[in-house]
């Protein structure tokens, strides 16, 4: 062990492509699974959540209208940068989740691979989910999937990187922008992911990462009229029903939380993209 005095870190939020402190000025200490101090994280407030929604809304036009190929390229680039931070992710996952080095590495590998998997989906979704509809009349009629809009994601509390990637990447691959409330106790991989996103080609505002408390921020996001959908995966179980009720106020799409945190290594299929996709059907007459 070196006797060098460590430089302790105080992390900030990732919001609109920048790294601001919480407007509330609050921070909280992040510890490892044994309670040892790791870093201070910003403790996001409802106003930070509000700002994040504004940033996500502003970014939606650009991100959703980028070509699917371009979105795929940008997301793949994220995976490349993640790979470069592999060791850091491993350390943070191991410390936060209390995993052995080997299991932490496996989780990080799976997370990067999952990101790559979703990056490859961007330009397949329309073909897989869209259709040409053989209507009984002289019309060309087709249906295409389109992103829902701004998705508020309450990230899993336990799986701090693989779980986070598993809920965030599908939202992005399908063309949405995201406001993510990270795992409260294990936010460091999310903070690092924010740094990865900032140094890749993802436009500012497409992803906004709020370190803090899902129980505190969840209701504000669920009730926010300019949020189009919520993923309640990381919501406190006792609060999930209340959040769903709040989300009903503006007819949000709601991805309900699983009974318990799932095995994130399982093949997700399309199940985390379709909840955040709309189908647009277009009719046009066929005539000379």
């Amino acid at each position: 062990m070196s006797d060098r005095l460590a430089v302790r870190k105080t992390f900030k939020l990732y919001l609109g492509g920048a790294f601001p402190r919480s407007e509330s000025g609050r921070t909280y200490a992040v510890t490892d699974h044994r309670g040892g101090f790791l870093a201070n994280a910003a403790h996001a407030s409802r106003k930070d959540a509000r700002d994040a929604v504004v940033a996500a809304r502003a970014a939606f036009g650009t991100w959703s209208r980028a070509t699917a190929y371009n979105r795929g390229q940008v997301l793949y680039r994220v995976a490349e940068v993640m790979e470069g931070r592999h060791a850091q992710f491993c350390e943070e996952v191991a410390a936060g989740e209390g995993l052995s080095a080997g299991r932490a590495r496996a989780a990080v590998d799976a997370a990067v691979d999952r990101w790559v998997w979703y990056a490859g989906w961007t330009d397949k979704l329309a073909a897989v989910l869209g259709s040409a509809n053989p209507v009984a009349g002289p019309f060309f009629d087709f249906s295409l999937p389109e992103p829902t809009g701004v998705v508020a994601v309450l990230a899993p509390q336990r799986s701090s990187l693989l779980g986070l990637v598993s809920v965030l990447a599908p939202v992005l691959a399908s063309g949405n922008t995201a406001v993510v409330v990270t795992s409260r106790e294990r936010p460091l991989p999310a903070v690092t992911l924010g740094e990865v996103l900032a140094t890749s080609d993802v436009p500012g505002g497409v992803v906004n990462l709020l370190t803090g408390d899902a129980a505190e921020l969840g209701p504000w996001l669920a009730e926010h009229d300019d949020v189009d959908a919520v993923d309640l995966t990381g919501a406190p179980p006792a609060q999930a029903m209340e959040l769903e009720r709040l989300a009903a106020g503006s007819i949000k799409r709601v991805l309900r939380p699983p009974a318990e945190e799932p095995d994130w290594t399982a093949d997700p299929g399309l199940s985390r993209m379709t909840p955040f996709l709309e189908t647009k059907t277009v009719w046009h007459p066929k005539g000379v």
Binding site: L129, R245, S271, E278
Partner: protein, 484 residues
């Protein structure tokens, strides 16, 4: 040259005969294959064109709904779930054929109970309802090819609540996919239009559909609530107002029930200066006066490019002047009766607000029948996006006209709504259609047409117009577990 004949071409009355329908003095609930009494105080259903009481209809309470759900569960577990998919399909084909065979009867009954013109019930509602059963019949034994996973399974019991604007057609949109995918159904028709659903129940018997597969529980909002909130319902599908949709979404929160909602709309119908004007005018008329404007996807906001505003409005007014308003059973009627006194009140209120807010109201010279619920085709010009008639769903024959100068402004105004069900775009320029269509936040975009529907074509909204689709491969997802 001189004319030997002159004078206006007056169309003589051409009423469709009522004799084909046999409206019973009272109707029960359809539960487990039998017509049974309801526990609630029966309600009356009236002909909105005359205010004549057509029949007395049972009202289902919690107890009746519970019986219906139990019947549906039993049918799901014992008969419909285990049935060979091909046989399920054959039942749907039978139903489709029976709807065609009894088409005239359904059309007349629909027009009597709803007030819509016989031309529409005959040429749109009933044929499309039959088409929905034909389409979904074919899916029953092909679901593994629908792209919803290799082993798609039904949810179980579907609780479905439908509106009064297209009573039979909305039934078909709900019941056909539910049955094709192997679910059983408890259906709650609208309070003011229960009769064709009850005739449909008779068709289910005629088709020898096993008891309990389809149950029809009539009643008002409380009955609907009982269906939605019943603990043994697995899947809830609702079409109606955004307000009720919201309360249903709250009611199913925290349960395992899967929900799809098809709610209100305030569609923009965008007319560019290079549009095929005569067809655009037809499209505007069809967009807002089809079914008296009782259409969630009605083109109720006309966005017309400012440089053709006067020309389009003049043509539109001339065209509206030829609309024939009156007896829904007359085969030449274009615009029928408003469905209920309650709806008429709402339309009047919003129209008065429109005038009070400074918009200009235009209505053609119009003689309306003395009895019944009537509202003339109405156009508001000088409407601003801030006016309530530009924002609230009127659900009546009331068009709000706004203008725009550039494509960007058209898109911005079109999307400036909490709704996102449908939109229209009129221009002869193909690339503009595709660009505008891309940017409209609406589930259905009609380009150079309006209010076209087809069972193969997914229908449903963005934003507060709801979620889930009806029709097409995509529509099956709502009724399949792990359906994507």
């Amino acid at each position: 040259m001189t004319s030997t004949l002159s004078g206006p071409f007056e169309y003589a009355p051409a009423p469709e005969s009522r004799s084909i329908v046999d409206v019973a003095p009272s109707y029960g609930l359809f539960v487990d294959g039998e017509f049974v009494d309801g526990s609630g105080e029966p309600m009356k259903t009236v002909n909105p064109a005359t205010e004549e009481v057509l029949s007395e209809v049972a009202v289902g309470t919690d107890v009746d709904v519970d019986r219906a759900v139990r019947a549906a569960r039993r049918a799901f577990t014992r008969v419909w779930g285990p049935m060979r998919p091909a046989d399920r399909g054959k039942y749907l084909f039978r139903i489709a054929r029976l709807l065609q065979e009894r088409a005239r009867e359904f059309a007349v009954l629909e027009s009597l109970d709803n007030g819509k013109p016989i031309r529409e019930s005959r040429d749109v509602d009933v044929p499309l309802a039959a088409a929905h059963f034909f389409y979904h019949a074919g899916w029953a034994d092909k679901l593994e090819y629908a792209g919803h996973g290799p082993d798609p399974r039904p949810h179980g019991v579907a609780g479905q609540v439908i509106p009064w604007n297209f009573p039979l057609l909305m039934l078909a949109w709900k019941v056909a996919p539910a049955l094709a995918t192997g679910n059983t159904v408890v259906l709650k028709p609208a309070e003011t239009t229960p009769l064709t659903a009850l005739l449909f129940a008779e068709v289910c018997r005629q088709a020898d559909l096993p008891p309990g597969v389809v149950n029809v529980v009539t009643g008002a909002g409380e009955t609907g609530r009982a269906v939605v909130e019943h603990a043994d319902v697995d899947k809830v599908a609702f079409t109606g107002s955004t307000e009720v949709g919201r309360s249903i979404a709250r009611a199913v929160a925290g349960t395992r029930k899967v929900l799809t909602l098809e709610l209100g709309g305030k569609a923009a119908n965008i007319v560019f200066d290079d549009a095929p004007i005569d067809q655009a005018v037809e499209g505007i008329v069809r967009g807002i006066f089809f079914n008296q404007g009782h259409v969630c996807c009605a083109g109720s906001r006309l966005l017309v490019q400012e440089n053709v505003h006067d020309e389009v409005i003049a043509s539109l007014q001339r065209r509206i002047g030829t609309l024939r308003v009156g007896d829904p059973l007359d085969k030449n009627t274009d615009v029928g009766a408003i469905n209920s006194a309650e709806q008429l009140t709402r339309i009047r209120e919003l129209s008065e607000i429109g005038e009070a807010e400074g918009a200009h109201r235009w209505q053609p010279a119009c003689e309306l029948p003395d009895r019944g619920y009537w509202f003339p085709p109405t156009v508001f010009t000088d409407v601003s996006p801030a006016h309530r008639i530009a924002r609230d769903e009127v659900f009546g024959p009331v068009l709000s006209v706004l203008t725009f100068r550039t494509p960007d402004e058209a898109v911005a105004k079109a999307n400036n709504s909490t709704y996102g069900l449908s939109a229209g775009v009129w221009t002869e320029k193909g690339s503009r259609i595709l660009a505008i269509t891309d940017r409209l936040r609406a589930g259905v975009v009609w380009a150079n047409t309006f209010n076209e529907f087809d069972p193969t074509s997914p229908f449903g909204g963005y934003k507060q117009s709801g979620y889930g689709r009806e029709g097409g491969r995509q529509g099956l997802a709502a009724y399949l577990r792990n359906g994507s």
